[in-house]
């Protein structure tokens, strides 16, 4: 009896694992097969022409990185201290912490298009930033903040209380404890949050359509409109007949970019940690 259920369970687990892996592999192979012929150095640096049917994605790549930069430069300095406040300094069960946490959980579930409309109304028009990389980046920042704060908070909470106790007993100040012991020990969790946020920001299309616009020329400043990679893919696939091959190539670049940023983030954090903690 148990033998049989065990076997069935094993087969099922293998099956689901294989299914998930094969879907992923299928997507990657499809991308490679359709996109690789268009991929070249030229493609990465030249501007698109003929609505993207020919040329490359140079300005789009730059716009994407700028939007991501604005997003991270605003969300990390707000998100990490908020998470520290929630995890380390707010008293358990205090109404203020509970209020922030439940607001964040609601915000995390809000569809990105709603964030797009908000960004459009608030940043583009109310603050007069227009359709710009700045508006887009700030909108993405609002969008990833809940995710970033909650995962950073979880990372901080996973640090054993033993460390805090030890630090207190040694007469260390709160600041020293936080900076020297808690943050380094929580960094792996923080990095997961950061990578998830970056991935979500890079993949975002809807929120950016309303805020950063979709001009495909090279941006001259943060106040310029700029098209992100995901919008470019959407545009090529949906609005430009004959743009499929370029869409595939762009999707490959997007995935490669995600991988590079994720690997680089992990690497940099390990390097930073190396001087601080040793496990």
């Amino acid at each position: 009896m148990t033998n049989w259920t065990n076997r069935i369970a094993t087969v099922l687990m293998w099956f689901t694992a294989l299914l998930v892996t094969s879907v992923f592999l299928w997507i990657i192979t499809d991308l490679l097969r359709q996109g690789i012929t268009h991929l070249s150095w030229e493609f990465l640096v030249t501007a698109p022409s003929d609505a993207g049917r020919s040329g490359g994605i140079g300005p789009i790549l730059i716009s994407t990185l700028l939007i991501l930069g604005v997003c991270l430069l605003t969300s990390v300095p707000i998100g990490v201290p908020t998470a520290i406040l929630l995890a380390e300094f707010s008293r358990k069960g205090h109404w203020f912490g509970r209020l922030i946490r439940s607001s964040l959980d609601v915000l995390a579930g809000v569809p990105s298009i709603v964030f797009g409309l908000f960004g459009n109304a608030f940043f583009c028009f109310y603050l007069g930033m227009g359709f710009s990389i700045l508006s887009g980046g700030l909108t993405l920042s609002c969008m990833v903040l809940p995710l970033l704060i909650r995962s950073t908070e979880e990372g901080l909470r996973s640090v054993p209380d033993d460390y805090r106790q030890a630090a207190t007993a040694l007469g260390l100040s709160d600041a020293a404890t936080l900076w020297r012991i808690i943050l380094p020990a929580a960094t792996p969790g923080l990095i997961v949050g950061l990578i998830l946020s970056i991935s979500r920001a890079l993949a975002e299309t809807a929120a950016l359509l309303f805020t950063s616009g979709y001009a495909d020329r090279m941006p001259q400043s943060l106040m310029d409109s700029g098209r992100s990679l995901s919008i470019h893919i959407y545009d090529l696939a949906m609005n430009v007949p004959g743009g499929e091959a370029q869409a595939y190539a762009t999707a490959m670049v997007l995935i490669a970019l995600l991988l590079i940023i994720n690997v680089a983030t992990s690497w940099a954090s390990t390097r930073w940690l190396h001087g601080r903690i040793s496990l």
Binding site: R91, Q165, A169, G171, L172, I277, S278, L279
Partner: protein
């Protein structure tokens, strides 16, 4: 009170011990110390003088407030929310229950160690130099020298001298516990509080840590909470017995180790030491 034959037959480690803590001057004195968590009394009216340079062990069954008492002595109770402390704790003639007291300075003078060794994820050397840096010792060479002196003091030097830069978490449990004691000692405290320092260790490591604790006699005032009566007997100068009276723990008897184990005055203490209660 008749002395139990079991007690008289067992070894009397204090009989041929040098009286290191000759002065019977209290270093810390608690007066009517009570602690409650969320309004529920944990310890009630505890009065205990802790003599300078002596090893005072605190014995008693689980849950009768031994650790709570210990954590009052360097205000670790401040970490717990909804914890209320009343009464007074005189340390060098200062009442340390005063909310205005400098806690960082206090904890530098009264170090504490816990049941489970808890070195932060730093290298062995950094575990010792890092608190020094935070307490204002600017020159790295001074910090390293001090760390090495203290590693020799706790008998870890020969075991770790070739791997000072490796993670402290790779040490064995006993070594980690000695490193944690070293970490408390590196700040040159006057008092060391040890909360069941050997209960997470195997007998051999436990013996090494015990020897380290007895070697501190005379130089530091040491307060040890222990479940292990044999250990209390081996290391203590003075013993305080905690027991639940009503809803809260309190000290029912305290005295130097010899009279405590040879002729306890309290019925409950006698029964507990004979192994009949607790």
């Amino acid at each position: 009170m008749t002395t139990s034959p079991l007690i008289t037959q067992t070894i009397r480690p204090w009989a041929n011990r040098e009286p290191c803590c000759k002065t019977q001057l209290p270093h810390i004195t608690t007066t009517n110390l009570s602690v409650s968590y969320n309004g529920k009394l944990a310890i009630d009216h505890v009065n205990l003088p802790i003599n300078r340079g002596c090893i005072t062990t605190i014995i008693g069954p689980s849950g009768c407030g031994k650790s709570t008492f210990l954590s009052c002595l360097n205000r670790m109770t401040d970490l717990a929310t909804h914890c209320k402390v009343s009464g007074s704790i005189a340390f060098n003639d200062t009442d340390i229950t005063n909310p205005k007291i400098n806690l960082i300075a206090l904890r530098r003078q009264i170090g504490m160690n816990f049941q489970r060794p808890n070195p932060p994820p730093l290298s062995i050397q950094k575990n010792l130099t890092f608190p020094l840096k935070q307490h204002g010792i600017k020159r790295k060479a001074d910090r390293v020298a001090k760390a090495q002196t203290i590693l020799r003091r706790v008998g870890l030097w020969d075991e770790v001298k070739d791997r000072l830069q490796t993670p402290a978490l790779r040490l064995s449990g006993g070594q980690q516990q000695r490193l944690c004691i070293a970490r408390a000692l590196v700040l040159s405290p006057e008092v060391l509080l040890l909360d069941e320092p050997c209960s997470a260790l195997d007998p051999i490591a436990s013996g090494v840590v015990e020897d380290l604790i007895t070697s501190l006699r005379g130089q530091y005032t040491v307060v040890v909470v222990t479940h292990n009566l044999a250990q209390a007997r081996r290391i203590a100068d003075n013993v305080a017995m905690f027991w639940m009276l009503g809803q809260a723990g309190t000290i029912i008897e305290h005295s130097p180790v010899a009279p405590m184990f040879e002729s306890p005055q309290n019925e409950i203490t006698a029964a507990y030491l004979r192994g009949e209660r607790g």
